[in-house]
């Protein structure tokens, strides 16, 4: 039993189903605001479809800009979910039980947001099916040697595996809600529970499936963002063509994902009064994890710079000098500060156990991780081999609103989830509580 929980089964159910009560005024105001931002993003996309991809400020030499940076950012955000739900499950880390449901939701909604960007970036969205692994014309298939084709498969697989894992984990909890609900809610939750009754036969197959899904999802934590990184690393663009990209991207992904989980858990535990389930110990554990990922990310940055110098490759040296001193130098130094320097404050127990500090540091990490992707993508394209082909990219209103809309879309989905499904896994929290025993009572 975890020392943190001094609870019983009945109390757990009562407390953790409070979040499903009718929302207040503040919730609806925030939801409406997010919806309006989504509409603004949708309108901007409409403008881009009507007038062409030039509306996004993309042109030679910078053909990949905000959309791909934001795509990589959201795929990265998605990574903490599987790390917490699958890897920490296999290692039997107890503190995951209280936070993994939210982390899994971050994974699914992060991927649902990231998945929009290839379509937005395509420009001609009506031929989007060309990126699927099906014949395009006359039996001609997509090029399976291209990391872009791997990426489509990897993200699709990640979304499928995460959704199945999320659905499976949710089943016993949805059954609890079904058994407590009345009227149409009972019918809806009944459908979602798929007839779950908690028989030993169901549990036996459930626990087996849970372990296998966790085991199958675990390599995805490493491979999906590695494959995303190969979208860049497999090319010969200076600043991209590097073997460090895969581990560097994976660490960055987990770094930003953990920060997002903290950012969502902090207001949620307060709003739903679940502080005794999502305790300071949980937030502190996530903060400690972030020190680790910040150190890996910082190490990767320094190795990149070292290799650029040590390799003697003048193009590689030039791009890193450009990043540090060129048009986007402010963003480069800001990302180093926000991603690596600021999280070092978490070494102090006083800071990592202070909610305002923790939130501030997590926001700093999110800004830093988005900037990291932006810098990697834009600077390398803006300043490659041929000086006469150099150019710079400037954001436009259209792509800025689409990116803002994507953030609104993510938080909108999360808010809807938080009021419709249990945000903390009740059955797994119960597993850490002593079961009701006659001898004790």
């Amino acid at each position: 039993m975890t020392e943190d929980y001094q609870l019983n089964y009945t109390e757990t159910d009562i407390d953790l189903t409070q979040s499903l009560k009718a929302p207040g005024k503040g919730y609806w105001i925030l939801l409406t605001f997010l919806f309006l931002l989504i509409c603004a993003g949708g309108y901007a996309w409409g403008v881009q479809i009507a007038n062409g991809i030039g509306e996004a400020g993309k042109n030679n030499p910078v053909g990949w800009a905000m959309y791909i940076a934001t795509f990589v950012f959201w795929v990265g955000i998605a990574h903490s979910g599987t790390l917490i739900s699958a890897i920490l499950f296999l290692f039997r880390v107890k503190w995951r039980a209280a936070v993994y449901r939210s982390a899994e939701a971050v994974t699914i909604f992060g991927l649902a947001t990231a998945g929009l960007f290839p379509f937005i970036h395509l420009g001609r969205v009506w031929v989007a099916h060309w990126i699927l692994p099906i014949p395009n014309f006359g039996g001609l298939w997509p090029n399976f040697r291209s990391p872009l084709a791997w990426d489509v498969l990897a993200i699709t697989t990640y979304l499928t595996a995460s959704t199945l894992f999320f659905t499976l984990g949710m089943m016993p909890d949805v059954a609890i809600v079904r058994d407590k609900a009345t009227g149409w809610r009972k019918k809806v939750y009944g459908l979602l529970a798929m007839g779950w009754q908690g028989s030993d036969n169901q549990w036996r197959h459930y626990t087996a499936a849970y372990v296998f899904l966790a085991a199958l999802s675990t390599p995805l934590v490493i491979s999906v963002h590695s494959i995303v990184s190969w979208d860049f690393a497999m090319s010969v663009i200076p600043g991209w063509h590097s073997t460090i990209f895969a581990p560097y991207f994976v660490a960055g992904a987990i770094h930003s994902g953990l920060a997002m989980v903290v950012l969502l858990l902090v207001p949620m535990r307060k709003a739903f009064k679940i502080e005794k389930y999502v305790t300071m110990h949980h937030l502190e554990s996530l903060a400690k994890f972030m020190i680790f990922t910040a150190l890996i990310v910082g190490f990767a940055y320094s190795i990149e710079l070292f290799i650029a110098w040590y390799s003697g490759n003048q193009f590689e040296r030039a791009i890193f000098i450009y990043r540090m001193t060129g048009d986007y130098a402010w963003a480069f130094w800001l990302l180093i500060t926000t991603n690596v320097a600021v999280p070092m404050l978490l070494w102090s127990k006083k800071i990592r156990t202070s909610i305002p500090w923790l939130v501030g540091i997590c926001i700093s990490v999110e800004i830093g991780m988005w900037l990291e992707r932006f810098i990697i993508i834009v600077t390398s394209l803006a300043h490659d081999y041929l000086p006469y082909a150099w150019g710079i990219y400037k954001p436009t209103l259209v792509d800025s609103f689409i990116v803002i809309g994507s953030f609104a879309w993510f938080f909108f989905l999360f808010m809807v989830f938080s009021k419709t499904l249990p945000v903390v896994s009740m059955w797994e929290v119960k597993e850490q509580i002593e079961p009701p025993m006659k001898e004790q009572s």
């Binding site: 019983n8 089964y9 009945t10 159910d13 014949p135 039996g139 001609l140 298939w141 090029n143 399976f144 040697r145 291209s146 084709a149 791997w150 498969l153 990897a154 699709t156 697989t157 499928t160 595996a161 199945l164 894992f165 659905t167 499976l168 016993p172 059954a175 609890i176 058994d179 407590k180 798929m194 007839g195 779950w196 009754q197 908690g198 028989s199 030993d200 036969n201 169901q202 549990w203 036996r204 197959h205 459930y206 626990t207 087996a208 499936a209 296998f212 899904l213 199958l216 999802s217 390599p219 491979s223 494959i227 059955w427 119960k430 597993e431 079961p435 009701p436 025993m437 006659k438 001898e439």
Partner: protein
Amino acid sequence: MPMPTRTYRFGIFEHLDTCLAVIKQLPGEGFKEIEVYSPTPHHEISHALGRKPSPVRVFTLIGGLTGLITGWAMTIGSTMLYPIIVGGKPIISIPPFGVVAYITTILFGTIATFIGFLVNARMPQIKIVEGYDKRLSSDHYGVLAYCLPEDVVKLEKLLKQLGAEAVARSQGL
């Protein structure tokens, strides 16, 4: 001819230890067909019932292998259909096609695992077992036992004697 209705009784228990005691005692009294309902999984229940390991793992294995074969077949087959050199690489390029096969292994493996769970757990179910108590998903334990019509009274009495809070009629799953 209609199938004769099977007779079950559903005992609801407040405590895990009482429930375990019931599971151990019922077979000795002649009630060997038992299903137990609990809010969380318990190894003690599975051990007491002598359940075998779940066959879900077979689904996972078959799904994974199917995915592995599909990945290689899709990549090699599609390039053989339209053999065109891309980037100076061989028509059948093992390392990149291996990436695709790796992804499809996981994709098919996860889907097969989920299907394996649904098939073995007999889900989705439209109806819930008769006699199911809504406290079972929350904080109580249930024992569903099959009995011959002439043993109903004996089973009901036994369940109550062993600490059942309630005993409900049931026709089983």
